[in-house]
């Protein structure tokens, strides 16, 4: 009975991820098919690598046979932001025993955002099901896209905006929950400046590094004052 309630909560929380993942993974599967790969190659990549933007970068990499060193460096640079995400949930995940490794593997931009919105009631279990559902959406989208992509004619252009909307909502929630607006404001300003300086594919990592440094400096001040 309790489990049912948890699953229901997790499903509701995962609906924005569903809209986004089904659509993006579908596009990914379709692009893999068009690049000439069998559906199971797309499936294996979605299953094991499981990281949105990087999987798209992998497509031209695979077709042009880039060196494995280039591949490794790109993976490092594109996905290091995940390290920052783990920092927030290190205590929550550690409590989860063996499931911890699954939670680490399935931590994405989107599940990170949703996990930030959960309250303490059964947080572990809800996080687990959000991760599980999100992964199912991603795999399902990939399979449909790579098997039958070109057969589906509906135009869903723009549906991925649901993720932008969710980020805005979480941002608003976090804003009202705290008086410490330094992290939010420095995030907006630094990300904007970094976007102007770096390419749109590369600005996230420098943004995260600079914001973290700023927060640390600001933290030092806080403790001195308090």
């Amino acid at each position: 009975m309790l489990d049912k309630k948890i699953i229901k909560t997790a499903f509701k929380k995962s609906i924005p991820i569903m809209c986004s993942y089904l659509f993006i993974a579908f596009a990914y599967g379709l692009m893999m098919k068009k690049a000439g790969f069998a559906w199971y190659v797309a499936f294996f990549i979605s299953f094991f690598v499981y990281t949105g933007a990087f999987q798209f970068v992998l497509i031209p990499f695979l077709t042009s046979h880039v060196s494995l060193l280039t591949l490794a460096i790109t993976a490092l640079l594109m996905n290091s932001r995940q390290t920052f995400y783990s920092l927030t949930f290190i205590h929550d995940f550690k409590k989860m025993g063996i499931k911890k490794w699954y939670m680490i593997h399935t931590l994405t931009d989107e599940t990170y955002a949703v996990n930030c919105t959960l309250d303490e009631d059964n947080k572990d279990a809800v996080m687990f099901y959000v991760a599980l559902f999100s992964r199912i959406y991603w795999l399902f989208g990939t399979i449909v896209g790579s098997v039958a992509g070109s057969l589906i004619p509906i135009d869903l252009k723009g549906i991925d905006f649901c993720m932008t909307a969710l980020f805005v909502i979480i941002f608003m929630d976090q804003w009202t929950q705290t008086k410490d607006h330094f992290p939010a404001l420095s995030g907006v300003i630094i990300a904007f400046i970094c976007l102007l300086i770096f390419s749109s594919q590369q600005f996230m990592l420098p943004s995260l590094i600079i914001v973290s440094l700023l927060l640390l400096l600001n933290q030092g001040k806080e403790t001195k004052n308090g």
């Binding site: 992998l58 680490i104 939010a184 990300a191 914001v211």
Partner: protein, 106 residues
């Protein structure tokens, strides 16, 4: 599936998993996470959410018009409806529909 594809999958998987697991591998019961890093982890979500919003709008950098108008209006829809109703799914549905319709107009 040839050897190259196999290696690409293995290397990408290992690196991506390692990056996600890094703080967990580095800190354990013997080596506790220092308080300043713990505090950083607690304050980062607000910054990360801001960065993710900018990430979603990153393509406007190269072509603000006409792409910017649907995004701009749709974001106003989310902010307004969520401010009034505080209903996540309602705001997401309304703003995404607005965005999709506007995208077809512009």
């Amino acid at each position: 599936m040839d050897r190259y594809i196999f290696l690409v999958i293995v290397i990408s998987t290992i690196i991506t998993f390692f990056l996600r697991a890094f703080p967990f591998l580095f800190f354990n019961e013997q080596r506790k996470m220092p308080a300043w890093l713990d505090r950083l982890g607690q304050r980062l979500p607000a910054s990360i959410m801001a960065i993710l919003i900018i990430y979603c709008l990153k393509d406007l950098k190269t072509s603000f018009l006409p792409l910017g108008i649907p995004s701009f209006i749709a974001i106003i829809v989310v902010v307004m409806t969520y401010h009034i109703k505080r209903n996540t799914l309602l705001s997401i549905t309304l703003s995404t529909l607005t965005y999709m319709i506007l995208l077809n107009l512009f």
